[in-house]
Amino acid sequence: MTIKEVEQQIVEEFSIFTDWMDKYEYLIELGKSLPIIKEGEKLEGNLIKGCQSRVWLNAEFKDGLIYFTADSDAIITKGIISLLVRVFSERTPAEIINADLNFIKEIGLQENLSPTRANGLLSMIKQIKIYAMAYSA
């Protein structure tokens, strides 16, 4: 599946939710099921510090693909991270660089990526793109 197709799949999954409660409950569930980053990789260097919550992001490059694992101390943030990992992990650097992430807006979670939230998510996306650029060089 392409990034676009995975994004479309997520949009469809979210389309069944009529109110925010269901949507948040689903994110909480996703957050709980996200395979967390290995303790040994929860390093200071992998930490993205927001005022609201902390996010850890680890990247590995193997056979032309980037593998991401991530974690957060806040569960809703973690739920959103799990969506981002699903979209971005096991992709080529070029795919990642070109992704536009419109699906976040479509599923109504745009506010969580606003710079004012300071929850580390925006910085996480930036970091993912930086990894992709570094590995494409």
């Binding site: 925010w20 409660m21 948040y24 919550s53 101390d73 809703i76 969580n112």
Partner: protein, 408 residues
């Protein structure tokens, strides 16, 4: 004039409270960060922006004299409000942060020497830590910390030892923006003065909840923000005893703060203008008068009773919640409550409760050292103002319980 003693009448003065958020009636409990504005404040700002607008202290034209008069009337109202002795002891700033920076740079710049100390408490807002660190660094002075105990109360038993001859100024909050406890500032001021050390009181939170009399307190400086006291954003006050302010050099140079300027030597304007360089936020400062009029229009007993019942209800209900830890347990507190719930991240709780229409503060509260003291990364805070009702407190508790359940 009859004082207002009816919560609905108070609420009707605040247009912001009528709005819905996420299709729920707004329950605004982030007053510790900033308060909503009553109509009379909004009206005065609009009136000035719509026409009564001329730069203050500068011109002879009608608009300039009108704005100057409004600005100076507000200064006088603030003087009376905090019972300062002289109008020139009231300096308009852009907020508490600017007020503290002014004192740190000007007073600290003049009086701190290598090896001297500045004493703050462990429960300070970053704005009462960092300005002192900046000046201490440049003067090779030290920042000393008065610790708080597990309940958030100042370790007064340690005060005598900390207040040695190296301390040149003490700067502490009357009420911490995290703990909500009313600190024993009178005792601290008395002890510091006994050793000849001046004291700055950060009143950002307390001015809204406690009647303030700077002469009775006998503090040397008292600082607060206008926007937390129902006034416009970008307004603040520095009160300082006249003889101390007189002895301090200007902090910022510019127009309005000078007497004569030549390239060789400039002499400065007398107080208060010495510290008000450039065009100040004169519309905001002028509208502070209306904010104070609003506060004074409310019956004091009514305010006290409402706040007491909110404090009693909130403390009791919060402590009933399993796994909840309330920070700041002491004899007297304002209606501001910071807490954590085990197993539920503050940011998650705040996000869910936002969807329920409840506006809260979550995060490090601009008090990272205090977060470290309690071994947490962040907290959740509910802070009340004069327009908040006991019904809102009840809605808050119900929403909190629901949010915790969602996360467990």
């Amino acid at each position: 004039m009859n004082k207002i003693a009816d919560i609905n009448q108070i609420r009707s003065l605040f247009p912001a409270l009528e709005q819905s958020v996420n299709s729920k009636t707004l329950v605004y409990l982030d007053n510790g960060a900033t308060a909503q504005k009553p109509k009379q404040v909004i009206d005065l700002v609009n009136m000035m922006n719509s026409g009564v607008n001329g730069n203050i202290h500068r011109a002879v034209h009608e608009l300039s004299s009108k704005t100057t008069e409004l600005y100076e009337d507000s200064r006088e109202a603030i003087r009376q409000f905090i019972n300062a002795a002289y109008r020139e002891e009231i300096i308009f700033t852009s907020g508490t942060t600017a007020s503290i920076n002014l004192v740190a740079a000007s007073y600290g710049g003049k009086y701190l020497r290598k090896g001297d100390s500045v004493l703050v408490s462990e429960a300070e807002h970053h704005s009462n830590i960092v300005p002192w660190q900046l000046i201490c660094e440049s003067k090779e002075a030290n920042l000393r910390v008065l610790p708080v105990d597990e309940n958030g109360n100042w370790r007064m038993d340690m005060l005598d030892n900390l207040l040695d001859r190296s301390v040149k100024i003490v700067s502490v909050s009357h009420v911490s923006n995290v703990l909500g406890l009313i600190n024993p500032v009178e005792e601290l001021i008395f002890k510091a003065h006994a050793k000849g050390i001046p004291v700055l009181i950060d009143g950002a939170q307390s001015i809204v909840h406690i009647e303030t009399d700077v002469r009775k307190l006998d503090c040397d400086f008292y600082v607060f923000s206008g926007h937390k006291l129902y006034g416009p954003t970008g307004t603040g006050v520095l009160y300082g005893k006249r003889e101390i302010l007189d002895s301090m050099p200007p902090w910022m140079g510019g127009g309005d703060m000078v007497e004569t300027v030549t390239f060789e030597k400039t002499t400065y304007a007398p107080l208060p203008l010495k510290f008000e360089a450039g065009t100040p936020n004169f519309i905001g400062a002028a509208a502070m008068l209306e904010a104070i009029r609003f506060v004074e229009s409310i019956d004091k007993k009514f305010l006290e009773n409402t706040e007491r019942s909110i404090v009693e209800y909130m403390t009791e209900e919060l402590l009933k919640i399993e796994g909840l830890r309330l920070y700041g347990m002491g004899e007297s507190r304002i209606s501001l409550f910071s807490f954590t719930v085990s197993g539920a991240h503050p940011s998650d709780l705040a996000m869910i409760m936002d969807k329920m229409g409840v506006a809260l503060r979550s995060g490090q509260m601009c008090a990272e050292p205090l977060m470290k003291r309690y071994g947490v990364e962040s907290m959740l805070r509910a802070s009340f103002a004069a327009y908040n009702t006991i019904e809102e407190a009840k809605y808050f508790i119900t929403s909190l319980k629901r949010a915790i359940k969602m996360l467990s």
